[in-house]
Amino acid sequence: MTTAEAFPNTSLTGLPVQLTRFIGRKRELDDLARLIRSTRLLTLTGGGGSGKTRLGSEAAVRAATGFSRLVWVDFGALEDPGLVPQQVAAAFKTPERAEGSVTDTLVQTIGEQSVLLILDNCEHLVDACAELVEVLLRTCSRLAVLATSREALGVPGETAWLVPALATAEAIQLFVERAQAVLPTFQLTPSNEPAVHEICRRLDGIPLAIELAAARVRVLSPEQIAERLSDAFRLLSGGSRTALPRHRTLRGTMEWSFTLLNAREQALLGRLAVFAGSFSLAAAEAVCVGGPLEAEDILDGVSALVDKSLVIMETAKGEARYRLLETVRQYAEERLRETGELAVFRERHARFFITFAEHAELHLFGGAGNPSWLTGITEESGNLRAAAAWAEEDAGRTELALRLGTAIHWYWFAGGQFQEGRRRLEIALTRSVEIAPDVRGRALVAFGMIMFWQGDHAMMRPPIEEALPLLRAHGDPWAVAYTLTALATALLVEGDSMAARGPIEEAVAHARTLKPGIFLPFTLYWHGLAAQGRGEIEAARASFEEAIQIGRSLGNSPAIAHPMSLLGRLAFAQGRYGEAFINYAESLSIHLATADIWGMGRGLDGMAAIAVAVGRHDRGARLLAAAESLRGRIGMGTHVSPQDLIDRERLVASTRAALGGRFREVWSEGMALATRDAVALALADTPPETGEYRLPPAEAIEPVGHVVASPTIELRVRALGPLQIFRGAEPIDSAAWGSARPRELLVFLVMHLDGCTKEQVGLAFWPEASTAQLRNSFHVALHRLRKALGNPDWIGLVNERYRLDPSVRVEFDAIEFEREVTAACRALGKRGEGAGTALERALEWYRGDFLDGEPAGDWHVTYRDNFQRLYLEGMQALGTWQLEDDRLPKAADTFRRLLARDQLHEEAWRLLMVSHARMGERSQALKLHQRLTELLRDELDADPDEETSELYERLQRGRLSENRSVSSAVSRPPRSVSLPLFAPNPP
């Protein structure tokens, strides 16, 4: 049984695979099990080879059931202390964000999860580890850390726990097991037992030393080993018979073990020290040859070193990889340095991995398309970092640094290691050395793409524009096409689909001349988006479909899934929900399989839009929330055009309106969904019948209006929908308010421009408070409000009444809304010129219910209901006007939006039926009647009223479409607004 099977409820990340049996240490494990539960930071200390890692992993696995997640991070191959947080974030699979430090992102990822984080081999990064651990422990209350380090971290609350030497019996047991691994016939006998005992004693019970000694039993008897060790140690201690100091025992054993190697093995072990982390045999063959070593010697040499316990072999997916224990690696590096060849082999190592990366580049393009290449390059992450560090050491290697960064920028994308990628490219790009123009150009494009992935859209275009002329003059067609695509991407995310047209069409033309591959679908993706942005729907569809077809022929899943999702988006925009659903479903399934989080985010948004469009607001809100939470976790935007953001805001607003008080609960349930569960929810449905409802055509989804500031307005209060307050054009952020009360007070004051007394406010805000309490609460709220506004004079006291200074130019959406809607309805009643358009604009003020989501007092409820009524009446008037004007799809859209807010509005149902009937969609209208009937039965246990039944009969007889006068039967001039909601505006 594997560890993962043993702990089905705990997710285990990165735990090292152990090929040998763990021996003894029962007492220590019991002690550790207790300490892991009671200590938040436990550091296993002890010299090299004392078994910290092995004991730590054993203890961690045993403690696993107490945690929901175990995450293992090995710092052995990491040299740069600046990358400590990145390394941990990578283990958590937390991509970095453009904003905020990696540590902040980690803190958010871990949050309140109960996690056991194991930091292995911290000794060379003690300060960096200590700093990170201190922050994590302070902010993540259910996190426990188990570290292994030769030196204690010295973090508050740490318990440093010295890993003891093996007890004699355990040491002997270890010797025997390891001896049997190289010589299966080895047995402990009365004749060799004293020698084994002596070896273990001499080796101070240090596990690694005992393993190195035991590995020799194939050639030497235990007696010989004991004798030779003794000689070697006497040599080391300058001939004295006294025991070697403990910290020199392992060193002595390694030296002894090293001298027993032949010259070729010695050379090889030294050279292997340049690998960071594990390495493949092929890499060793390429890097380590020269002098006494031919390529064909490497395999024999490596396996001899494995036999002697100096190199560890691991197998992953049938592929053997090798590594040196950190203690051995350091020793080996010293030997290599002594030969004067360290620099030579470090350079050879770096150049090998730069070439390797360049070879992988095309296979990595697009991210997760080629899982085997991605796994392959991920295994080399330590070596790639070592190569990058080598290239950064010397300005003369800048070109190599740029080549490496360019080659692996899609790998950085796949792993979410944006900050590291951006930093490395930035360092190399800003060095003032002569660089071949094509190398510089390609690196600039990679740099721009990283900014795109980080969501830093404003910074993306300049490097790409710098690259384009360089690559046009010196680059190959592929590089030019990639650059043009990147440029088009930059323009599209800026919202300029017109400007994107030139570059993307040229890119596609270039791409068509290239060898078939992932690149053409990548280009077509953006080509289609640009076309859709310009309203060229058929061209867009053709691009997406071609991209998918190429993706299928290549068997490249991202090349299928990404354009598939855009095809869904396109179908949705045209109101073909069934088709959209099917596209999104296929795309989501693929993204789920390839763990493409970005793609899943887009798919969830798409599915949410469909749910909302067909009136399933509960599902819609849940999926929207899940997508939102996912974006928060990966720290990226998933939009491909500014329109996506606007659409999303609309969707959220409409689910909020539809769900009313339940919204908050549904939303937080959605936020809590794990990504996998959210995708499962999205997929667990049947596609809606195509065309049952029709989405507003794309042009009807207008940007949320009224945010653009006119310079004269000083204070802007938007209370219809979630409360937003702006000073001039600047939103006052929520932190400035301290609590919700001061905001509520401001709204109260703008609704009572004549001013109000402290008692009036008190009655509305704190109806149950005593006079003293009220005074206190009122002044706290007032103080905060004045502070948040930054201008204390704005709220003055005149005749015992608090009021907003009349000279302050205020724009309050509720007042504007009421005034404009009332005026427009009146004008519409008189068939006034432009009245319909004015009404349409006026209704846009209404983003949602009054003070939606604000914990405001009961006083606001009457206002909320009145504004809502006004909105519904306005919508009805608007729809009726559109119906009479024969703008039937618009009218249907309006009525449907009305129904989204008030689904039992029977008259709106009738008007919607009429709209469809007029469009010649009689069956649609009949279906609507069916839905209405069911709805009334479910919700009110009632039947449709007489007027509806009459309409239904006429629809059945099919006489409606000829009978145009029917609209007058259902439309009548809207009532004017019921209540004067406000005191008249002061002059």
């Binding site: 300490l35 200390t45 002890g46 010299g47 202390p81 600046g82 000794e123 060379h124 990064l125 003690v126 300060d127 960096a128 200590a130 700093e131 201190e134 922050v135 380090s149 030769r150 030196e151 204690a152 010295g154 973090v155 508050p156 609350g157 740490e158 318990t159 440093a160 726990w161 010295l162 003891p164 910290h247 020199r248 060193r251």
Partner: protein, 177 residues
């Protein structure tokens, strides 16, 4: 990385932290402050003492100060100190000590000379030392003790400066060979 390069380290490493070392069944609590060469402050008594807290804070500006809570009396001081250093993973340290702890530190240094970098022995406050009084305030190298020694009275002028200069002179602590 070099622990003597504080520039890359945030200020939290300079603040004092309480932590513990566990070797076998023996738990030693200690206070750590500052970064750089490790220096152990060994006090004869565990009573709160403004002199010692001031000295620790002053030294922490330049070195890494480690103040263990000693249990009294020291049954096996050398054994404890060795275990404490092993548990912290420190090969060698400087020591500032007084009273019985000072003598115990010297005894330890005689047995394990490569694990102690320097010893500062604080003596009780003296009246003005005579100018010809040998040793006070001057680094000593007594025969038989392979560790530089500084003996200073608690009330010496510029005590902190003297001790800091002595502790930071010469090469940093060697890592285990």
């Amino acid at each position: 990385m070099n622990s003597e390069q504080p520039s890359t380290i945030s200020s939290t490493r300079y603040e004092s932290a309480r932590a513990a070392v566990r070797v076998g069944d023996v738990v030693t609590r200690y206070l750590r402050a500052g970064v750089g060469r490790p220096v152990l402050l060994l006090r004869g008594s565990q009573e709160p003492d403004l002199f010692w807290s001031g000295l620790a804070a002053g030294l922490a500006e330049r070195v890494r100060v480690i103040v263990p809570e000693l249990s009294e009396p020291f049954a096996d001081f050398s054994g404890w100190l060795l275990a404490f250093l092993e548990g912290l993973g420190l090969h060698s340290v400087g020591v500032v000590a007084e009273d019985a702890a000072g003598l115990a530190a010297i005894a330890f240094a005689l047995a394990e000379p490569d694990r102690i970098q320097q010893i500062v022995l604080l003596t009780v406050a003296s009246s003005e030392p005579a100018d010809n009084d040998p040793g006070f305030g001057e680094p000593l190298a007594p025969r038989g003790l392979a560790v530089p020694l500084l003996i200073v009275p608690r009330d010496a002028a510029d005590l902190l400066g003297q001790v800091t200069r002595f502790l930071t002179a010469g090469p940093g602590p060697a890592s285990p060979p």
